[in-house]
Amino acid sequence: MEPYNKHESIAALMNRSNVDTDQIIPKQFLKKVERSGFGAHLFHDWRFNDDGSDNAEFELNKPIFNGAKVLVVGDNFGCGSSREHAPWAIADYGFNTIISTSYADIFYNNCFKNGILPIVVSKEQLDTLMAEISANEGVSFVIDLAEQKVTTPGGNGFTFDIDPFRKGNLLNGLDDIGLTLLHADKIDQYEQGHKQSYPWLWA
C-alpha cells in the first residue's frame, strides 16, 4: 500500500446522499477475479448511457473534475453490500480522500485497507464545502493527514478526527496483516486455551 502523503488535489462534488455500493460498483462487475481495473466501472450506471457513451449529466463526467483525488459527497456514503470492490473502484479511479458526514461501517473500514482516507465532517461543514465547490468548480483542497487538517482556498479549512491507529497505518502505508502478525505469539497462546476450552471446535 502506498503511504498517504500530504497533497493538494481537485475536489469533485457529488451532492447525493445514501450512495450505496451497488451504485459505486454495479454487481455485473463483481465477477472479476482480479483486484485491479475496477475504476473503469465506478458509478457505471450513472456514468454511462445505455449505449456505453458518457452521460454528460453525471457530475464526475465534468471535465473540470478530471484528475480529482478528493470526493465530496452526501450523507451515509457506501451503504449496502459489503463489497470491497467499492473502495477498490474508488481508489483505482484515482480518489484517495472522501469527505462526507457519515459512512456505512463496513465501507468505512474498507477504505483504510485500500489507502483511502474517509474524512467525517459536520452537516454545516459539508454544506460549506459543497457551496465552495459549486461556486468555484475545479477548486483544489490541501489534505494533510499528519496534521489532520484540510485547507481550502475559500477559507473553509478545518481539522478532523481520526483513529490514531488507522492514521498511522495510512501514513506508513502499512499492511494490516503484517501488523497483526507482530502478535503471533499471543494468537498461538489464545489458540491453545481455545482448544482446551472448546475442544469440539477443533474436532
Binding site: 446522499s17 445514501n18 450505496d20 451497488d22 451504485q23 454495479p26 454487481k27 455485473q28 463483481l30 465477477k31 472479476k32 477475479v33 482480479e34 483486484r35 450506471d45 452526501g74 450523507d75 451515509n76 451503504c79 449496502g80 453490500s81 459489503s82 463489497r83 470491497e84 470492490h85 473502495p87 457519515s102 456505512a104 461501517d105 463496513i106 473500514n109 474498507n110 485497507k113 485500500n114 483513529d163 490514531p164 491507529f165 488507522r166 498511522g168 499492511d175 494490516d176 496483516i177 501488523l179 497483526t180 502478525l181 502478535h183 503471533a184 499471543k186 494468537i187 489464545y190 489458540e191 481455545h194 472448546y198 475442544p199 469440539w200 471446535l201 477443533w202 474436532a203
Partner: protein
Amino acid sequence: MKKTMYEKIWDSHLVVEAEGQAPLLYVDRHLMHEVTSPQAFEGLKLSGRKVRNPHSILATMDHCVPTKDRDKPIADPIAKKQIETMADNCRDNGLNLYDMKSPNNGVIHVVVPEHGFVHPGMVVVCGDSHTATHGAFGALAFGIGTSEVEHVMATQTLPQKKSKTMLVQINGALSKFSSAKDIALAIIGKIGTAGGTGYVIEYAGSAIKDLTMEGRMTLCNMAIEAGARAGLVAPDEKTYEYLKGREFAPKGADWDKALAYWQSLPSDPDATFDCIITLDAAEIAPQVSWGTSPEQVIGVDATVPAPESFSDEGKRKACESALTYMGLAPNTKITDIPIDFVFIGSCTNGRIEDFRIAAEVAKGTKVAPGVTAIAVPGSYHVKEQAEAEGLDKIFIEAGWEWRDPGCSMCLAMNGDELKKGQRSASTSNRNFEGRQGKGGRTHLVSPAMAAAAAAAGHFVDIRNL
C-alpha cells in the same frame, strides 16, 4: 459486572489489545463464497502466506450459479471463471467446499446452519454483509471486506472496534399473517437504514422467543439493512434442538460441555444497553417496501407516501427520487400496485418454512396473466425437503417455476433479473436501484405476501384472504 451477550462474546474472543491498535478478535468460523474471496486468495499467495486453520472454513458457490439447466456449461464466461477459481482455491488450500454439483450446495447463509457449522457464542465472519444471519444462534456474526477475508485466513483474527449495544424489544405476539420478515422491515422502517450504525443489535421479547430458528435467521439477516454491525438472538431450547445431531454440532460429552457454555451466554438480566427500541408485535402489519431503500417501507393497508409527508429534507428528496425510479404516484394504495415478477428465495427467505407458508397461499391459485413467478430454494436440502412435502407440485400447478438453489434474483448476478421498468414482489433483502436488474423495481415482502401477489397480479392484504 453485568454484561450483554455481545460483551460476553467479545471478552471471550479478545486475543490482545495492544496500545494504539484496534483490539484483535479471534475468529471461530469463516464462511466463503465465490465473489468476495478470489482476490483474498490472490493476496495470500502473493505475500507467501498460508491459511492458518482450514477447519474453520466452509465454502459454497451461490452468487453466480445458474438456477436452471445446471448440467449445461455456464454460459457467462466471467461467472464460469469465478466458479473455477473458487474450486481451485479451495482445493489448493484444503478447504471444505460445497460446489455446484454437491448435494449440500446452496446460498452460504442457508447452507451453514443446515450443517450445524455455527454455534452460540462463536465469532463468525464472511465476506458478505448478510453474515448477520447467524446471529440467530447467538453467535457474533458479521460481514467483512475482501482484505479482511485475507486477514482472517492468514491470522485467524481480525482487528475490530467495539460496537455499541442496542436492544430491540418486540413485545406481544405477531398476528398470524405477519412474519419475521415483517418484523425486520418494520424495525428498519422505524429506525432507518442508518439507525443501527455503530451498534450490534440484540433482539428480545416475547415475539422473538416465539419465532422459529428460521424466523430468527430472517430477522438477524436484515440487521445489516438497519445499519447494524450484527444482530443477535439469545440461544434457547429451540436453538439447542435445532443444532442437536447436525454434522458439525458437538457430540457426546462435548455436547454437555458446549451446552453449559451456551447457557451462560444470554445477556445478564440487568445488563445495560446503549440504546433500547421497543415495538409491539401485534401492531406489525404485513410490510411492503415502496422505495429504493429498505427503510422506505409501509404496511400493506397503507398508501405510498407523498414527499411532503416527510419533514426531514433529506427524506423528502429521497422519497421524490425513489418514487420517480419506482414509477409510483404518491398516495397510491399499496394494494393497487401491479407487479410483473415474483421471487421467493434468498438467504432472507429461502428456507423450508418460507416455502411452506408460500405454498399454503399459492395452493389452488394460478399465477396472474403476464406475471412470472419463480421459487428458488436456498439450498438443495431445502429443495429436497420441499419436494418430499409436495410443495414443488403446488408451485408448478399454480404456474410457478421451481428452480435449483442460488442467490438468483436477490442480486441478479446469474442472469435471473428484471428488465428495465419491470416490477417485482421479492422476498429478498435489498430494493436498491438496479439490484434486481438495471431499471428493475423491487418491492420487499414476506413469502406469504409474495405468493398472494403472484396470484392477484398486484399486492393484496393477506389478512383479507
